[in-house]
Each structure stands twice: as structure tokens, then as C-alpha cells.
């Protein structure tokens, strides 16, 4: 990345707009034409677009870490899952009795746990030869105390109407308010992780964050008191109207009629357009801030650090502190996208947080789009997400053509049945091809 490649010189100013137009054409084709390749349903097209926009926000966060600072965070899925907790904790209705069952004790336990860690971190540099023993004793005592306070509280909360609740419950505040909270949750975790792991070499950092991601997802899955764990948390409030309310609105059928759609279809499209506008607004705001930061003295410093840490350090820049800063900001954006995702889905299903989909696919988006370039990351996200969804459909269609000469039997059925998995191969191929032949991505950094 240190040398300017021919590809960068060749990049014309029309490149990015043309590629964005191409993605727009793909989405419009999906919405209008009905053939072997496209579904011809606006609901599907807008659904793809909406998740693409959310992925674009995630990709922007990853691009800040990788493109601005060269940090390989392989635990994106965990920070998304943390952000996803925010809508549950902020905007679902309060659970009757949950706070009385053990809320205060729970907060006390969490404070105790954090206090132990803080105390250990405080004692460590201030003690001499015995610091290993001292910190070990603090940690063990803290753990015992924490479990003593924590376990009964959790048992009580989870026993509170376990069939339909069993969680601590939300605050009942508007769901849009939970998006910045999701960002803050992820940022707090990122600060703690970054404090410990950012001194590490590039691929050690990748492995450490891989672990963080797995652990956070495990917490969301297993700590039922937060958001009911694998029992899922549904009924998260929406920032846009419900389809049913639209359909019952007196003037809506007429509007649908004028658009030439059935009432059900028109209401779905209406809701999805509402989401799309919200997501686009957030995306543009994040991009605006990111571009301003990138073109400021701060952005120049970040790129200087990325391109040569030693030289930047010699110039008096605090490399570790800047890394921590950008790591926290990037993870906050990832957390924001997690909160948006859960709001859009209306349900928190922790088992869906798979690293391939939420960590490595996002990485493919950033690399393909062009690391270091915010518009590139957005383009990569929209394009790769479209392909990810469509290859699952195109794979079996292609396999159907390929296996047509085979006699009907087990082999053919097996091949047809597993054809949707071809999308993993396609994504890997795209990543490898871009990495090799256009290492600066579709829209290279200027």
C-alpha cells in the first residue's frame, strides 16, 4: 500500500459515480424486471437495499479502523451484537417486576466487577516485586464477590415471568434514541479491548479481536437477563408505521391503486422506503463526518501513522493513543449499524450473529470497495450485499442448468440442495481476485 500503483493513476473522476449508478441499476432491475435473474418485486429490491445501507454503515466503521489506521479488527460481529442490544435495553417496554426482583443488586454486581478490574489496573504499576501476587489476589477476591452479588440477582430476574420475559426489560424510550446508545456500548467495549490489545502486532490483533467477537456473541446468547438470549427478543418498536396501520388508513388503498400495487405490497414498500430514508440519512451523516475528519489535520496524521508508524512516532505522534482513538470511533460506528439492524429486523436473534456474515463479509466489502476510501466502502457494501443475496438464488439456477444432463438421483439432488452455499465460494473468489488484481479496490484512495 506504500507505493502508488498504476491503478491509482488510471482512476478517473467518473469511476465512482458510474459504479454507484451501476448498483442503482441493479436495484432498479431487481424491482422492475421479472426473469431468471431478478425477482421483479420492489419489496425484495428495497429489502436488499436497506440491508445494504446498514452494511454500508458497518463497512464505514471497518474502513475507519483499516483504511485510516491499518488495524485488522476480526471481531466486528461482536461489536455489532453489542450495538444490537441497545434497542432492546432502551426502547422495549419495561418488564413488570424485573427491577424489583434484582435490578439494584445487578447494577451493584456489575459495578463491583468493573471496580475490581479498575483496582487491579491501578495497583499493578504502583506495587513492586509482589504485584503479581497482589493483583492476582484482588482479581480472585473480586471474582468471588462479583459472583456472590451477581448470581442471585440474575436468577431472580430470569425467574420473573420466565415464559414471556425473564429479562431486565427496556426503558420504553423512542427507538431512534437507542442508535447512539448502541454506538456508545460498542465504543465502551472497544476502549477496554483497545487498551489491552492495541499494542499487539497486526495479526495478533486480528486473533485477539476474533476472540472478543466470539465472547461478546456468547454473552448475548447466554445472558438471558439482558435480552432473553437464544429465546429471542421480538417486538422491538419501530421508527416507521406498521403495515397493518397503513392498510387500515382510509386513504391508503386509493394510493396503492394509483401506484398499480396491491394494498399489502404498497404498505410493505412504504415501510421499506421509510427505513431506506432513515438509513440513508444516517449513512450520509456518518460519511460527512468521516470525510471531514479524513481531510482534516487529524486525518493526515492518521494516514501518516498508517503508512509509517516509526516515522510518525519519531515526529512526536502518539501512535498507540491515536490507534485507540480510531479503534473506538470505528467500533462505535459498527455498534450503530448493529442497533440499526435490530431495529430494521424488529427482532434480536443472537444465533444469527455469525462471524462469516458479520465480520468477514464486511471485510470483503471494504477490500472490494477500496480501503481508505469512504465512498469505496459504501459502494463495496451495496454491491457485495446485492451479490450475497442474489448468488444464493443464482447458484441453484446455475446448478440446475449444469446438472440438467445428469440422471436424476442422489448426486444431482445433493448438488442442487447445496448449491446455495456457492455464495461463499463466490465471495472468496471476489476477495482474492480484487486483492490480487486491484489491491486498492474498485474506488481507490486518492
Amino acid at each position: 500500500m506504500s507505493t502508488a500503483t498504476r491503478q491509482a493513476e488510471r482512476a478517473s473522476p467518473w469511476r465512482a459515480p458510474l459504479l454507484f449508478a451501476a448498483v442503482a441499476v441493479l436495484v432498479i432491475l431487481e424491482g422492475t424486471t421479472r426473469n431468471a435473474l431478478f425477482s421483479g418485486s420492489w419489496n425484495t429490491a428495497l429489502g436488499i437495499l436497506n440491508l445494504g445501507l446498514i452494511s454500508a454503515v458497518t463497512a464505514l466503521g471497518v474502513n475507519m479502523m483499516w483504511g485510516y489506521a491499518g488495524l485488522f479488527n476480526a471481531g466486528i460481529v461482536g461489536f455489532m451484537a453489542l450495538g444490537a442490544l441497545a434497542p432492546v435495553l432502551i426502547s422495549t417496554a419495561p418488564v413488570p417486576g424485573a427491577w424489583d426482583a434484582g435490578g439494584t443488586r445487578l447494577l451493584f454486581a456489575l459495578a463491583l466487577g468493573l471496580g475490581t478490574l479498575a483496582l487491579a489496573a491501578w495497583v499493578w504499576p504502583r506495587t513492586g516485586a509482589w504485584r503479581g501476587v497482589a493483583v492476582g489476589a484482588i482479581l480472585i477476591a473480586g471474582f468471588v464477590l462479583f459472583r456472590w452479588a451477581f448470581d442471585p440477582a440474575v436468577t431472580a430476574i430470569e425467574a420473573n415471568n420466565a415464559a414471556s420475559y425473564g429479562n431486565i426489560g427496556g426503558l420504553g424510550w423512542p427507538v431512534l434514541l437507542s442508535w447512539p446508545v448502541g454506538a456508545a456500548l460498542a465504543a465502551a467495549a472497544a476502549w477496554a479491548v483497545g487498551k489491552v490489545a492495541l499494542g499487539l502486532r497486526s495479526d495478533y490483533l486480528a486473533i485477539a479481536t476474533l476472540g472478543i467477537g466470539e465472547i461478546i456473541v456468547a454473552v448475548v446468547k447466554n445472558e438471558d437477563w439482558i435480552a432473553r438470549g437464544v429465546k429471542n427478543m421480538s417486538g422491538i418498536p419501530r421508527p416507521v408505521p406498521y403495515e397493518l396501520d397503513l392498510q387500515n388508513h382510509p386513504e391508503f388503498p386509493e394510493l396503492a391503486n394509483r401506484l398499480g400495487m396491491s394494498v399489502a405490497e404498497a404498505s410493505g414498500v412504504w415501510v421499506k422506503i421509510g427505513y431506506a430514508s432513515l438509513f440513508t440519512a444516517v449513512l450520509l451523516a456518518v460519511i460527512l463526518l468521516a470525510q471531514l475528519a479524513l481531510n482534516s489535520p487529524w486525518g493526515r496524521m492518521m494516514r501518516a501513522i498508517r503508512d509509517n508508524e516509526v516515522a510518525a512516532g519519531a515526529m512526536g505522534k502518539n501512535v498507540t493513543a491515536r490507534h485507540l482513538q480510531v479503534f473506538v470511533i470505528g467500533c462505535a460506528v459498527v455498534g450503530l449499524s448493529g442497533a440499526m439492524l435490530v431495529t430494521y429486523d424488529g427482532i434480536l436473534n443472537p444465533t444469527a450473529f455469525a462471524p462469516l456474515r458479520y465480520t468477514f463479509l464486511i471485510w470483503v466489502m471494504v477490500i472490494v470497495g477500496g480501503s481508505g476510501n469512504n465512498w469505496g466502502a459504501v459502494l463495496g457494501a451495496l454491491l457485495i450485499w446485492f451479490l450475497w443475496i442474489k448468488v444464493e438464488v443464482w447458484g441453484p439456477a446455475l446448478m440446475g442448468v449444469l446438472t440438467a444432463p445428469l440422471p436424476p438421483g442422489d448426486l444431482r439432488n445433493h448438488l442442487l440442495g447445496s448449491a446455495p452455499h456457492m455464495r461463499f465460494i463466490v465471495m472468496g473468489l471476489i476477495l482474492l481476485l480484487v486483492l490480487r488484481f486491484a489491491p486498492r479496490g474498485l474506488v481507490p484512495e486518492r
Binding site: 476474533l210 447445496s418 461463499f424 482474492l432 486483492l435
Partner: protein, 333 residues
């Protein structure tokens, strides 16, 4: 008597499972550490290589079973291993040729190799899913138990039972044989010495006439063999699911780093350290405490089993912070 019961319970629930798991992790970590030592990057595709190799073993096992060939009392999978290893090695050599060799010639940064290995991971994951699907598969035929719980109780008259599964013994035996062979290869043969020389100092090795491509080829073949073996033993011991193999990437990396990346002896020690910590921390000790005369209301479980990854993670972080080259002085490039 209670002391004996406690001892048997510890053996049954901690020592035996952790030993088998440790052997599997050690084999996986050996593969990671070899690739790191020779090719100088952390291979994120290693978990999916294990999955692919195991998928090959399962397919061949089904084929053999279909032909009525069995290896009783041993599992048929062992018979399928050599061919599966050859297939996996071919795939690895092909991958190296079309993916990694380009970056090696360019002397690209390690992080670019890691990115490329993520691409390879996607492809191998897709291939495995395409070939065998995502369902859970058990393929351990042959004798299941060497010592059964009921038999053990009858022989000893103890309250606690002890079970020793065939797969656990096979795992440890196979791992021991492989490790012995690997160390003989690395320390006694010309190729092995060339490999170590290349790992220590690439330029010096090139100057003394070692063919780098040959060293790299041998590394991939050995890594494929280790990955397939580790994956198969893990699958025999527990069960095969493509997705769990991605998850054990973390303990495997932890094992390799704890021992010192690039250091084979460290990988083995690391595998057992991680396995024993994982099992000991997630095991509910109440029963054993009761035998020792200490009744408790709680389970006396430090962490629930779902958080076993946290254990490898904490070990990993502690070692990286306080001894970044690992316990056995690996590389710290």
C-alpha cells in the same frame, strides 16, 4: 474411599476429556505454527482446512462402508485418512500456487497474507458446505468404549464411574505418533533441516542452496496432513459440523501463540495448557468438593461451558502482554 471417588471423577470428567481435546488442539496448533514459521502469516483458513479434510474423510468412510470394508474395532475413518490427506494436500498446494505464491514473490506484508487467507477461508468453507452440507454428522463406527462406566463400577466397587472411549485413546495415540514423526522429520532428515533453516533465516537458507518452493510445498503437505488428522480426531471424538471447525480456530491460535508461534514444541504444550484450562474452568466442581467433605449449594463452576472461548482468550491475552514471544520463545516478527 471418598478420596478415590474424587480422583476417579476428576479423571473421568477433567483429565481424560482434556487430554484428548489437548491432543486435537496440539495437532491443529502444530499446523498453524508450521505455516507461521515457514510462510510467516497466521492462516485464518486453517479451521476450514480441517473441516475440508474431515469432510473428505467422511465421504471416503461412507464409500468404504458402502463397500462393506471396516476396520473393527477401529473406526473406518482411519482407513480413509491417507487418501483424504492426499486430497487436502492437493487442494493446499493448488491454493498456494494460485494465491499465496504471488504475494510471497512480492514479499507482501503479513497482513495481506492474512487477508488472502480470509478469501481462501471463504472458498474452503463454501467447498465443504457444497460437498457435505451443514448438518451434524457422526462417523465414529467401531468399538465405542474401552472401559464402560458400568464395568468400571463393577470392577472397582466405587460409586464413581469412569469411561474411556476408543476415540480418546486413538486420538492420543495418533497425536503421539504424529508428533514423534514430525520431530524426527524436522531434526533428523535433510528436508526437515532445510525447513528449520528456512524458518530461522530465509536469506541465509537461500544462500546455502535450499530450494524455497520445495520447502513451502513440504510445509503445505505436512500442514494438510496435520489439519486433516486433527479435524478427523476432533470429529470422531465429538461430531462433525462445518461451523464448529471455524470456532476452534480460536483455541488453536491461542495454543500456537501461548507456546510461541513457529515453535512446534510450544504448540504441543500450548494445546494442552489451553485444553486443561478450558475444561477445568468450565467443569462444575461441586461433586468433587462433596467427596472431599465440602458441601456447597452452588455448582462451583467458574464459568459456564458457553464461555469456554473466554478461557483461551484470557490465556492468549495474558501471554501476549507479558511474554509476547510465547512460553517457548517463538518468533516475534
Amino acid at each position: 474411599m471418598d478420596l478415590l471417588n474424587a480422583l476417579v471423577a476428576v479423571l473421568n470428567f477433567v483429565v481424560i476429556p482434556a487430554t484428548a481435546y489437548g491432543a486435537q488442539l496440539a495437532l491443529g496448533a502444530l499446523g498453524v505454527t508450521l505455516i507461521y514459521g515457514i510462510l510467516r502469516f497466521s492462516n485464518f483458513a486453517h479451521g476450514d482446512t480441517m473441516a475440508f479434510g474431515t469432510a473428505m474423510v467422511i465421504l471416503l468412510t461412507w464409500g468404504l462402508q458402502g463397500l462393506g470394508i471396516a476396520l473393527t474395532p477401529l473406526p473406518t475413518a482411519l482407513l480413509a485418512l491417507p487418501v483424504a490427506i492426499a486430497l487436502t494436500a492437493l487442494l493446499m498446494l493448488g491454493t498456494d500456487r494460485v494465491v499465496y505464491r504471488f504475494y510471497r514473490r512480492k514479499r507482501a506484508a503479513p497482513i495481506i497474507f492474512v487477508m488472502a487467507s480470509v478469501g481462501v477461508m471463504f472458498i474452503m468453507n463454501g467447498l465443504t458446505r457444497l460437498v457435505i452440507g451443514v448438518d451434524e454428522i457422526r462417523f465414529d463406527d467401531g468399538a465405542r468404549f474401552i472401559i464402560g462406566v458400568a464395568d468400571f463400577r463393577r470392577w472397582t466397587g466405587l460409586e464413581e464411574g469412569l469411561a474411556l472411549r476408543g476415540t480418546q485413546v486413538i486420538t492420543v495415540a495418533a497425536a503421539a505418533l504424529t508428533v514423534a514423526w514430525l520431530f524426527w522429520f524436522l531434526n533428523r532428515t535433510r528436508s526437515g533441516k532445510a525447513m528449520r533453516a528456512y524458518s530461522d533465516n530465509e536469506d541465509l537458507a537461500l544462500l546455502s542452496g535450499i530450494d524455497p518452493e520445495r520447502v513451502v510445498r513440504q510445509t503445505w503437505i505436512i500442514a494438510a496432513a496435520l489439519a486433516t488428522l486433527a479435524g478427523t480426531l476432533y470429529g470422531l471424538d465429538k461430531s462433525f459440523r462445518a461451523f464448529t471447525y471455524f470456532q476452534i480456530l480460536l483455541p488453536i491460535f491461542a495454543a500456537a501463540i501461548v507456546g510461541g508461534l513457529g515453535n512446534p514444541l510450544g504448540a504441543i504444550a500450548g494445546g494442552f495448557i489451553v485444553a486443561f484450562s478450558e475444561v477445568a474452568v468450565t467443569y462444575p466442581w461441586r461433586k468433587i468438593a462433596a467427596y472431599l467433605g465440602w458441601e456447597s449449594d452452588g455448582l462451583m463452576q467458574l464459568l459456564s461451558t458457553e464461555y469456554k472461548f473466554a478461557v483461551s482468550f484470557v490465556i492468549l491475552i495474558v501471554v501476549l502482554l507479558f511474554r509476547p514471544t510465547g512460553l517457548f520463545r517463538g518468533k516475534s516478527v
